[in-house]
């Protein structure tokens, strides 16, 4: 079985990371699994973990009163779940629910933040990997707001 260092190093989010940095990250990481329907986290909760999906599918959802939860994005193999751990006050902004059996690497966010603060070079590496994900989610949100497939009249 692969050890955690191998798994972290192979995950697209940390791929190519300097081995010494990788070692620092691994010190905060552990293997987790979620059954279908199990929540990774809930809106408003402390964002004290980030999850790197190895296999599976996770839906990001917002609960709408009187309706079912609305899923606005699904994430799968190779994706990062959760970004709120990077910005104070570190609270989740939505629910994350496994819709398939999902195996992931959970990284202790407090631990990672401390290491990033201690070594800004690592912090910069992490932010450089986080930023493209934020931008692509922002662009996707823009397209969703346009509701391009909807009837323009309605």
């Amino acid at each position: 079985m692969k050890d955690i260092a191998q798994l972290v190093g192979e995950h697209p989010f940390f791929q190519g990371l300097d081995p010494s940095f990788c070692q620092l990250v691994c010190g905060c990481a552990r293997n987790v699994r979620f059954e279908p329907g199990e929540y990774l986290f809930h809106e408003g909760g402390d964002a004290d973990q980030l999850y790197l999906i190895r296999h599976g599918r996770v839906a990001l959802e917002i609960a709408v009163p009187g309706k079912w939860s609305l899923s606005f994005q699904t994430l799968q193999d190779g994706d990062l779940v959760g970004v709120s751990w990077a910005v104070p006050p570190y609270h989740w902004a939505y629910d994350a629910r496994a819709i398939e059996l999902t195996r992931a690497i959970a990284v202790d966010a407090r631990c990672l933040r401390q290491k990033c603060d201690a070594d800004p070079a690592l912090g910069y590496e992490v932010l450089q990997r986080l930023l493209p994900i934020l931008i692509s989610r922002l662009q996707a949100t823009r397209l969703q707001i346009l509701d391009v497939y909807g009837d323009r009249d309605q």
């Binding site: 839906a59 079912w68 609305l70 899923s71 398939e100 996707a140 397209l143 497939y149």
Partner: protein, 276 residues
Amino acid sequence: MPPPDFMMPMPVKVMQRRQELATTWTLDVETGPDELAAFTPGQFNMLYVFGVGEIPVSFSGDPAGRDRHCFTVRAVGPVSRALTELPIAASLGKRGPYGTGWPLAAAEGADLALIAGGLGLAPLRPVLYHVLRYRQRYGRITLLYGTRSPSDILFRDELDGWRRRQDLEVRVTVDHAGSEWPGQVGVVPALVPTLGFDASNTVAFLCGPEVMMRLTASALLDAGLAPAGIYLSMERNMKCALGHCGHCQFGGVFVCKDGPVLPYPRLRGLLSLQEL
């Protein structure tokens, strides 16, 4: 002999009608004379409803079929609404086929990325029939289909059938979904980088809302596809479909006769201009 009057429709009957979605129906109509039965996937017809008006509608059926034409119509305006309300055996006016089709012959030997958004799956469906019939002529074939929500997925049964095939990769995604949806949620352009296209040997056919096509074309270019290998099916107001009425102009392009299927280089520089 006087020249033919291309503005004159031909009466044809509705043979069958199927509800696809809440406001979307597929009509099977008679082809009319044999010489008008053949069409190239991507082409369209002008359909006239008695006393109401006429609109362009793309062929959505099998190009090898000779006994009927399929048109998939969403009720968004008076004519499209009237079309979706036509009962079996009712007559409508039809003229065409018009416009350019998808470059199916030129794409032989290449991988195909068929990327549809919303009702844009309808004009690509004849492509699927064609390439699956002549499967060995093409490399890897991917269908990426995005729509608004799970209840807006067009041709759902057929998609399920295609998904089961080993020789076709089908990805369906929606903009948003309820928690019962087991599939993918996300916008089409965001999925392009995840499909692992062989950029040097992939031809992409895009059909959907213009914004979706524009952003998807950008994502394909970012993925390394050649601009000349990307084709878009454009939509504009049309009154004649002959290049005479002027309504469908998009820059110097007459969408009706130079299009609707156009190579990206012809559209580059125009797509991002507002109110063109």
